[in-house]
Symmetry: D2
């Protein structure tokens, strides 16, 4: 049982708090990280800290994703690890939802994941190795009221991940989907003092992503649920 070794990673939706934890973790283990986000301004400090490159990219736009991968090819190289964290949601009473916002929810949460994954897999297949991780949500397995757009996006993302896992695992590409069930702790969003660890620590999530990255191919996981110990489900 040998440990899997990867040297390059791409994180899309890099503005998310989870992305910072992933970036630090991967960098510490010697992986060169590329960070993509619609706006790269907020990524500056993280990039400096972790020696990461940043790329502006709207993942829901085909031309942006093409350009991103061409840039990667020309600079840090094609990523062996891809983590898709981007998502968008609108919510409210079903009859009041704005169709354009619904369309955007699906586009950013699921279609962008397809665009990024396709470019990545094209570069992974010739080598017969690579890992693609999708950050899903409980909304991807349970359609909540007043939240049809997010359900549509996250269900679609899960369908994408499952189809890819069935097709690409036997070709050496490990595809996994994470069901994040609960709020993620951040500077802006602290947990109640009397409820310790009632929100997901992004470092704890990153640890589970890391463990999946390291799985030997004789025992791969395609889906992992993560929730705080006190979260109702």
């Amino acid at each position: 049982m040998t440990e899997t070794k990867f040297t390059t990673a791409l994180i899309v939706g890099a503005g998310a708090g989870l992305s910072a934890s992933l970036t630090r973790g991967l960098s510490k283990d010697g992986v060169k990280v590329a960070l993509a986000s619609r706006s790269t301004e907020d990524l500056h400090d993280l990039a400096v800290e972790a020696g990461a490159e940043t790329f502006a990219c709207d993942a829901a736009r085909r031309s942006d994703v093409h350009k991103l991968f061409n840039n990667l090819d020309a600079t840090v190289g094609a990523p062996e690890i891809v983590i898709y964290n981007a998502s968008y949601r609108t919510r409210g009473p079903f009859v009041e939802l704005d169709p354009e916002e619904v369309e955007k929810s699906i586009a950013v949460t699921a279609f962008g994941a397809f665009l990024v994954a396709q470019q990545a897999v094209r570069r992974m297949l010739p080598n017969g190795r690579g890992v693609i991780l999708f950050t899903g949500a409980s909304a991807g397995v349970k359609g909540y009221p007043q939240s049809a757009p997010f359900a549509m996006g996250k269900f679609a993302l899960r369908g994408l991940a499952q189809s890819m896992a069935r097709e690409l695992s036997p070709q050496g590409i490990h595809v996994a989907h994470f069901v994040i069930d609960g709020g993620i702790r951040s500077a802006a969003r602290a947990e109640p003092a009397d409820r310790p660890d009632s929100m997901l620590d992004p470092d704890a999530i990153a640890l589970s992503y890391w463990n999946v990255l390291q799985q030997p191919r004789s025992a791969w996981t395609w889906e992992v649920e993560l929730r705080p110990w006190v979260e109702k489900f």
Copy 2:
């Protein structure tokens, strides 16, 4: 336990073989049926036979769906039953999929369902009654290899249906999702002679739709799987 009575229905994606069975069944029971499809040419004979009205509508286009419902309001009236049968798919090796076709798969299969359902629910809510049925597929619960676009569309459709069921059932609107698992028999697509009933008879599917339509609200179903007796699952 009183029987539910409806007088108007809209079937979207009316070109599907299933739609003809549904139209005949509903008409026979005194329901006035409106048929919507991108092209209404092929619907002529059915419309005449069942006394149905036809409407041209690309369900993935917001303006088309608006126009459709305005037309219904002005003619046969807002539908108490809506059945969404439209879907589109592209398939093939993941790396060879055409992004535009993937986008269209999601748009027709899931986003169009949202557009139609929203217009319908706006008209149903004031009366606190109505039924919305979505025709899903096994692809909505299992992501098959070389079929990511259909998985994305049908998973998203199921997420939409489940979110709507949780939100709208307590407001009197019955939402149900059908997992059609297997090929549907048609003039163009006959089943092997030595494997009787190995494909779904559209009349048999229509019977189950009808039964769900009739369910008293004390025992509603939100999802029904249907497959031929010999189908592997």
Copy 3:
């Protein structure tokens, strides 16, 4: 598409309120019903009303189930329809559960279902037709806290039903599992006056059972969820 015709039925766990509705419904449609329960005393009035035979049987006991089917063979004939309604549960904090009660929960809820189904299928297979319906619960798809024994029994029942459906459907035997989610209305257990239809009407459940019994084999359902319109899920 011809309608399925059955002439004999066996209901096990006949003391349940649902069983009375099923018995009346089946009898009205000309089906000869046999009722089995640990105690037959309470079945007298129903039996007279519906022209049904009653049989004492503890379904979790192998010898009882053998005797029951031998009696049926010798009297009303082998049942073409079998409905298993028996269940037992104990609940409470996990550490306080009585192991004997846990064992009984599994035995009555799941093992008895196996015993009855096996005897039934032995008699159905030579004719290549028959229906077996299992009354499950939301506890069969979701393990609730303080209710491990019922979760074990109802999950096991669902596993039995699904395995049987995969094996026996292609041999002509229709196996279906019902997920009853909510309280069933009865004389002893009325629903709140201000929440109409907030409990399942046993007649409404029986209607869905009947519809599944009638499904043509080109479009069989193996699982049906039923819950009141206002039930949270």
Copy 4:
């Protein structure tokens, strides 16, 4: 994010090949391991190698399980980690299954898991910490034909695990269920030479168990699927 530290573990069903990998892994990390199996003969070498204690115990027997935990209390101490690997199955055409074997399948696979877990949790609750891991199978989420008894046992085990997770997680006890999908490699059961890693390496499974043991409570997993990269699902 501090690492979880445990010092004692109990493995039940210790004769399984997976158990040897788990024992070696835990021992190497300083955990004192107790091994329980119906027969302890085959455990001798492993026990010596890993400095583990062995205990004879039929997990499906209430008195055996009581005695086991009393022995543990008096010797190595109550386990902070419990891993339940025991299972039993019979298979074949549904009508030919031996009811006694079916009963045993449920008893060893699921009821024994309850007995062991209850004793363990009684000792963990006062400390508000502990981990209980159940080794499930794909049979616990999919009922295969000709395999109703294993489906019943493994579905029941999953129901137990899910109910326990919902009840006990907020009390500090981490409960997780592993869906092992595929054959486990062993000396007796080698994989085809031309299909490398087509069977689960027990060391690879043990690695994933270990990772779940180490999860911080802000991001616990209750279920993990593991399958070889080339396994169909």
